[in-house]
Amino acid sequence: MMITPDIQVALSLLIPLIGAVGMALCYAAPNLRETVTLVTAGALFVNTVTLLQVVLAGGAPEYSLISNLPGLEIAFKIEPLGMIFAMVASTLWIVNSVYSIGYMRGNREPKQTRFYICFAIAISAAMGIAFAENLLTLFIFYEVLSLSTYPLVTHKGNDAALKGGRIYLGILLGTSIGFFLPAIIWTWALTGTTDFTQGGILLGHAGPVVTGILLFLFMYGIGKAALMPIHRWLPSAMVAPTPVSALLHAVAVVKAGVFSVLKVVIYIFGLDILSGNFATEMLTWIAAFTLIAASTVALTKDNLKARLAYSTISQLAYIVLAASLVTPMAMAGGAMQIVMHAFGKITLFFVAGAIYTATKKTEISDMRGLGRQMPFTFIAFLIGSLSIIGIPPLGGSWAKFYIMLGAVEADQLFVLAVLLISSLLNIAYLMPIVIRGFFYPPLGKSDPEVSVGHERSMITRANIKEAPLLCVAPPLFTAFGCIVLFFFIDPIYQLLLPILMP
């Protein structure tokens, strides 16, 4: 059988599932199981990269799975935005798998097989979301993703984990069924289709009021985008082991949310119908509020993962903000932010996990001086933080720049101020961790008295006690990725160009 790009689309979903079966079969032999995980991740990556070639060449492979109701089918079609999301997910899955091995073994976590299987299913769902051709398909995989990550969130199995998991699932399912699904049905009732179409499908079918209500149904229905006040699930999900948090906050779940937001705005509404709508402007304000408020909350959190969770909420709001600006440049910025934040935040979570693995510390106030013990980890954290803040030469700065360009295009200059304040808040909650890590004595110890001008770095080879290599290499890799992405932004831009300038 010839493997055509169309088949490869189906393979993208299938490969992780096959891998999951493989992992289930190898549950008794951890080494074999992990090999299966890595091979699967590698295969998926290769598959996605070949698809990328096709898309770059202007192709749009598609695959129709099921057509069960008139006008409703489960079908996949690749467009640039989805390609980017798929690339991010499949690339980071490899890294995350490597890291998971280090973390899960380093912490002797139970039920590792279930962990890897659910992980693979979640990735498969993410692929489904990325390549979905219509809203229904997107919705189905969106729900699969929620469900398949629940066992990951509650991995620890204690009461706190179950409670967190319940909030996680409750909000995600509640919003998706309560808002997202009605919005889909309504869209379908209005237009008779839910296909993602360049330029949107609602134009001419919905008046400004209906458009506004629909917009809000979508934005709050896609709970994974964590727009306030339905963001609570994200901090709740922090009870999960760190690789899960990394997956949730960088690769699959939240990115699926904001990706859906962009997709809905671009392909369902279309930029024309939204620009100038009062609801769109309100969304801008809500996103701006979320952006700042979440950063402010992050400042008050002492638990590292909680702080990162709120940081994620804030960073996701960038994308919703970009979407609400409804200009091509803002869309480009939003798409870039998906990629950049993925790399930046996964680095930070990897680091949080590496610190936990090496020292069992979770509170930031306990992490003083750890940079001396784990310099590589903290350098990765520094780079990740700077990318989140948006400092060049790190990828995050492009996203911000393009959102700013979008804001200028949309004539919403207050957004510039919002971004400025947010950058400062980002500094305030991220940088002290690095600085205190490097320049302060560890907790309970004090540095030898040195007179002014005789500063010493205190990083000596004897002092270094890093987490296992498999926990340290992935964050370094993703941190390096943040740098590389700054210089290789052009391919992403070129990929996006067709949807920006139709």
Binding site: V297, L416, R436, V452, G453
Partner: protein, 562 residues
């Protein structure tokens, strides 16, 4: 070399190898980098290199013109001297930060497009902050965070300006702009923060004294001068700068007079000196811009020299407060000598570099018939004689009193100071050689009799009054105090406001959370009461009850149907 490689990258990339070296090799290595960079800069010549197509725009990685080359050259020299001065430091983090910082400043100067400029602009902010944090104490940490936040504010404002500018003009070239559009104002504020415009200036005096001994030297050389360069690049001849500059010259001198901390005193007067350059940019004539370039160069020389000398005292004595110091010159005569040289230069004493450079700007002002500005600058010149030229040596080094029993500064520090002194005096003696590298061709005679006489009048009369004031106890007595400045507003009331606002929002949010929890809880309780266990709707009704319900509803149905 790679085609189009920005000279600054030599230092930046070179910095990454520093942690893998140690001892003597590290010393040689870090000193070699600026030398290589300088050589490379000059070997490139003038022109633009490294055009890259990206995101539909053309980026020019390296663009060297005469103005940029002056700044690039002095930055390399300052980096070399600063590194030499800091050789004793056993903290590779500081070396790395220094090299990246210097490299970024150099690279920013040679950037041909706005994106590169912004990138390096931010890089200087981040890397330099580490020189403050490296002091490793709580005050330094806080000052560093404030510094970082202010610097990044500048960066983000610049980015916002670029976004606006690109949206309007569609290109990303570094080119002069007219003040008027929102973009240009954002540029101006971004540059203004780093130039330390009045009311945007506090980060200088806040952060520099908290940095490490060598860190302060490095810090003083780059950020503010890079900003002056940017101003000259974009806003040459912009009138508003004249007045900003004038205020800037006068504004900090009073604080400089009152300050107890030697390094903070230098920081204030450096701020005042920045005003000269801002005025020069505002005048915008060829002579003025030459003056800006020249004075920036000279300013780096003497500021570094003064920070080095005061730093050496701090290094040996552990303090740089006038009230804590005694007769330093007795045990550190060479350092004291360099401090005097630095003071002479800042006073623009004949035969020192500033004598040549300051007069360029003054002359440009007079050429433009800007008498008030000229008087303001003259006032600044007088003030600097007071608060650095005389105060630093007399109060810091030549106080009467017992020998403090200090050791002379280490050799590499003396060497670094020596290098700068030689340059400062060399330029003073042979100004025309120095004028060769200035951006515009120049025909200017520094040493006219009247110039020398008037300058000497200025200095000696000022000195006389100073001595009189000290003698008759009219001079504000140095006290172990702090003088409040504009930063009070954001360090006290604004901070309080922000904290209270945060608490308020937090309380509001908690209230919202509690309320929604209560509402949901109420629903759940009600539902449980009516629907749960033995609730009305889930109770197992007796058959009789069931039949009654049936009858009742049947009655209702009949009524409705009928």
């Amino acid at each position: 070399m790679i085609e189009g490689l920005n000279p600054g990258l030599i230092l930046i990339l070179g910095a990454l190898l520093v942690p893998f070296t140690s001892g003597f090799i590290r010393n040689i290595y870090v000193l070699a980098l600026p030398i290589i960079g300088l050589y490379y800069t000059w070997s490139l010549g003038l022109g633009s290199f490294g055009h890259v197509e990206i995101l539909g725009h053309t980026l020019i990685l390296t663009k060297i013109d005469a103005l940029a080359r002056v700044f690039g050259t002095i930055f390399h020299i300052a980096a070399f001297a600063g590194l030499l001065y800091g050789l004793h430091v056993k903290d590779p983090q500081q070396h790395v930060a220094t090299l990246i910082y210097a490299g970024a400043a150099i690279a920013a100067v040679f950037s041909g497009d706005l994106v590169s400029l912004f990138s390096y602009w931010e890089l200087t902010a981040i890397s330099s902050a580490f020189l403050i944090f490296a002091s490793r104490n709580e005050r330094a940490f806080n000052a560093g965070m404030r510094y970082l936040i202010i610097q990044v504010t500048s960066g983000v404002l610049l980015l916002a300006g670029i976004a606006l500018y690109v949206a309007q003009s569609g290109n990303m070239d570094v080119a002069p702009m007219e003040l008027g559009s929102a973009a240009s104002w954002l540029f101006l504020i971004a540059f203004g923060i780093k130039t330390a415009f009045p009311l945007l200036h506090n980060w200088v005096q806040d952060a520099y004294p908290q940095a490490t001994v060598s860190g302060t030297v490095i810090l003083s050389a780059f950020t503010t001068k890079l900003a002056v360069y940017a101003l000259a690049r974009f806003f040459a001849g912009e009138d508003i700068l004249l007045w900003i500059g004038a205020i800037m010259v006068i504004f900090p001198v009073f604080h400089a007079t009152l300050e107890n901390d030697l390094r903070r005193t230098v920081a204030y007067s450096m701020n005042s000196q920045q005003g000269f350059m801002v005025i020069g940019v505002g005048i915008g004539t060829e002579l003025a811009l030459n003056g800006v370039a020249a004075h920036a160069t000279v300013s780096i020389l003497y500021t570094c020299l003064l920070f080095m000398a005061t730093g050496a005292v701090l290094y040996r004595a552990g303090t740089a407060k006038i009230t804590d110091l005694g007769a330093v010159y007795k045990s550190m005569p060479l350092t004291a000598m360099f401090a005097v040289i630095g003071s002479l230069v800042i006073m623009a004493f004949p035969l020192t570099a500033a004598f040549a450079s300051k007069s360029l700007i003054l002359s440009a002002a007079l050429d433009g018939k800007m008498v008030i500005l000229w008087l303001a600058m003259l006032f600044g010149a007088v003030a600097v004689i007071d608060n650095v030229g005389l105060k630093i040596p007399l109060f810091g080094f030549f106080k009467p009193g017992e020998d403090m029993g200090l050791q002379e500064a280490p050799k590499h520090m003396l060497l670094a100071m020596g290098v700068l002194s030689v340059l400062a005096i060399g330029i003073g003696i042979f100004p025309s050689a120095f004028f060769q590298i200035l951006p515009y061709p120049i025909e200017y005679h520094v040493y006219t009799a009247s110039h020398v006489v008037t300058q000497l009048q200025l200095i000696i009369f000022a000195a006389l009054v100073f001595v009189c004031c000290v003698k008759f106890n009219m001079y504000p007595k140095p006290q172990d105090t702090l003088t409040l400045d504009f930063d009070w507003f954001y360090r006290k009331p604004l901070k309080k406001f922000a904290i209270n606002l945060g608490l308020l929002i937090n309380a509001g949010y908690l209230g919202f959370l509690r309320m929604s929890q209560a509402v949901i809880g109420w629903f759940i309780t009600k539902a449980r009461e009516t629907h749960g266990g033995q609730g009305l709707l889930s109770r197992t009704a007796a058959s009789g009850v069931a039949v009654s319900i049936v009858m009742l509803l049947f009655g209702v149905t009949l009524l409705l149907v009928y």
